[in-house]
Structures are given as structure tokens and as C-alpha cells.
């Protein structure tokens, strides 16, 4: 029952704040993402050519990158909370935190690279 000590590596203020602030932010960003990707094109799902043409506007890749960072952060902090409820041991939690960080960074890098590739196509 050793809870009367300094905050440990489980849930804490900053991770929680990150989760609860990215949430509402996603409202806006996801809304923009859905409108731009599904309501602007004719059939709902854009074809390759349509994607290329609207990615030429520099605002779009910028918005998508910010959206990607926000959604990956919210998703992984949320997933981490769910797993924390299973009370993993300290050593397992350290491994899991590393995996979360890797998953988040690699998802972000992968997505950003993809965005840059598409934006570069003429």
C-alpha cells in the first residue's frame, strides 16, 4: 500500500493532461480531415488523382501532419491508460512505455513521410 510517495511511472498529471487536451483538439482536426477527404470529392472516397491535386495546396499536408501527431498521441496515451488498469509490474511497464514511444514515433514518421511523398507528386 505504498501510495504515499512521489509520483511513479504510472499515470500522472502530464500524460493525463495530454490525453484530455488532444481529445477536444481532435474534434476540430478530425472534422477538418473528414470534410476535406470525404465531402469535397465527388464520390466520398477520393481517387489517386484527386488526392494528388489537393495535396498540392501546402495547407493540407501541414494540417494532416498536425492531425496525425494529435491522433497518435491521443490513441497511445489512451491505450496506455487501459493497459495501466491491468497493473503491469514496473519492469513490464518500462518495456511497454518503450513500445508505446516506438509505436508513436514510427507511426508519426511513417505517416509524415507518406504525406511528403504525396505532396511532392505533381
Amino acid at each position: 500500500m505504498n501510495t504515499a510517495s512521489a509520483p511513479k511511472s504510472g499515470e500522472n498529471v502530464w500524460i493525463w493532461l495530454l490525453k484530455i487536451l488532444t481529445g477536444p483538439l481532435l474534434f476540430v482536426l478530425l472534422g477538418i480531415h473528414l470534410i476535406v477527404n470525404h465531402l469535397v470529392g465527388k464520390e466520398g472516397v477520393l481517387r489517386y488523382a484527386e488526392v494528388i491535386s489537393y495535396y498540392n495546396n501546402p495547407v493540407i499536408p501541414l494540417m494532416e501532419i498536425i492531425f496525425l501527431a494529435t491522433v497518435v498521441t491521443h490513441s497511445l496515451t489512451g491505450l496506455r491508460s487501459i493497459i495501466l488498469d491491468l497493473k503491469p509490474s514496473r519492469s513490464i511497464l518500462q518495456i511497454l512505455d518503450l513500445l508505446f514511444l516506438l509505436a508513436g514515433i514510427s507511426a508519426f514518421l511513417y505517416g509524415t513521410r507518406l504525406i511528403m511523398i504525396i505532396a511532392a507528386v505533381q
Binding site: P24, V45, R47, Y48, V72, S75, D85, L86
Partner: protein, 130 residues
Amino acid sequence: MNEKSNLPAPRKFLSWFNPVGRQTGGWAFILNRITALGLTLFLYIHLLVLGKLAQGPNAYDSFVRLTHQPLFIFGELLVVAAAFLHGLNGVRIVLTTFGISVPYQKQFFYALMTLAIIAIVIFGYHMFTS
């Protein structure tokens, strides 16, 4: 002293999803957790699938043709549903966390879920009829 049945247990994670004896807020918790897991799964699949864009117009456009199939559209509708349910429940969580509407959290849940259902129906209609 029998320590088995009544104690909290880390592997009791299935008890998260047990609605027996729960009230409004408890259902909201279950719903939020299920949609969170579903949306996370979708996120990573979506990212992988979008990799096809980098393979050029043929690879991607043939995939786009796939997305017009009813089963696929139904899957997408599930994602849309999960997003609305999770997002609107999230609105309730953010509000109550910052002290707004705490005594009305039940009513908020019902109102927001009604909104979600209306939105899902509208989206579903558009998705299946275009």
C-alpha cells in the same frame, strides 16, 4: 480467509465490459473503452492502407474500387459510429472533468448519445446512397 472471488484482479479486465448492475456512467465507461480500442485498431490499419498511395495510381485506385463494396462501407460506418460515440462521450468527460455539468452527467450522456445516433444515421444514409 478465502481471498479468491471478491478481490480486484488485474486479469479481470473482462469485468470492464460487464454491464450487469451498472448505471448510466458505467455504460458510458464501457462504451468509451470499446470504441477507443476499435478506433485505435482502425487508426493503424488506415495508416498501413494509405501506404498504397505511395505505390502509385494503379495500386491505390484498385483499392478505392474495393471501398465501394457494401461490406466495406458497412465497416467504415462502424468506424464513423465509433468515432461519434467516443468523441461525444469524450465531450461529456472533458466537461465533467473541468467541473461543468457534473450533476447532469447522466442527462448529458443521453443527449449526446442521441446526437451521435442521429449523426450516424445521417452519415450512413449518405454513405450507402452515393
